[in-house]
Symmetry: C2
Subunit: 134 residues, 2 copies
DNA sequence: GAAACCGTATTATAGTATTAATACGGTTGA
DNA sequence: TCAACCGTATTAATACTATAATACGGTTTC
């Protein structure tokens, strides 16, 4: 599993990990019930403290994106979103509003955003999976 | 100027102010060269410390969204984004990717996101300006 | 010019968030 | 069983956030 973290990102490391694992799951680059790297393994790979990875995994578990088998490891969940449609829409609207304000600030038109959104969506779907390498 | 801050938001107060002023500028609810409330005034209104407001204004100035006339006040900039198109696109793509991952996590299709995006954009444009009240 | 206002700078203090170092108990598999 | 591995809990160091109280220099307005 390839992750990249930056100490000058502004956001905490554990949040960067959470976001990137979310990406991987959303893009289906990791499959349900697939095991994530052990906290120590990922920590060594990223040159950070195992606790930081553990915290990220804990947050992901709270979100329902991963589950843990005590003493065994951390695995990708196969459950969909446990939130109601109303709740999910509310969250998404918040993100959309923030995005629109940001885009408008940068002098982008709605059409530009829509086009770029389509482009990124296509890219996200087209990305190769972890297992399908030569 | 109406702002709302929440101490249990998770995000720092000064960042909440920054984001909301960005919204107001993006939605053209405040006009270029319009004066923002003095730090002491806004601080009293929000029941927070003037220093916190001052920090928010400083961040907004760094972003180029507002400018200050020493001893006079803080004003909305009229300059567009000083960033290159390439840079602005790079930033927007980052936000779009995060949004798409989030949306997919919540079991939304691209079409849902696009539709909701249009809806929120219309809403943002339709919002009344500060000055045009009864 | 003087009072009233503007943002800024300073210092001190407290609470919280983040990361690190380390020890712990449970599971796995030969 | 037991070594090797899993996530966890505890503690500590550090940085960030926010507050408070004050003082400063510049601008505006009368």
């Amino acid at each position: 599993m390839l992750l990249h973290i930056s100490t000058q990102d502004g956001r905490p490391i554990y949040q960067q990990i959470v976001q990137q694992v979310k990406y991987l799951i959303a893009a289906e680059q990791v499959q349900p019930h697939e095991e994530l790297p052990a906290v120590r393994v990922l920590a060594e790979q990223l040159l950070i403290n195992p606790n930081t990875v553990a915290r990220a995994y804990r947050e992901l578990e709270t979100m329902g994106l991963v589950y843990k088998r005590p003493g065994a490891g951390t695995y990708v969940s196969d459950t969909g979103s446990p939130l109601s449609l109303r709740e999910r829409r509310r969250i998404l609207c918040g993100h959309l509003d923030a995005l629109l304000a940001e885009a408008r600030q940068m002098r982008f038109e709605l059409e530009d955003v829509m086009a770029l959104l389509k482009e990124r969506a296509a890219l996200l779907s087209a990305e190769p999976k972890e297992g399908s390498k030569s």
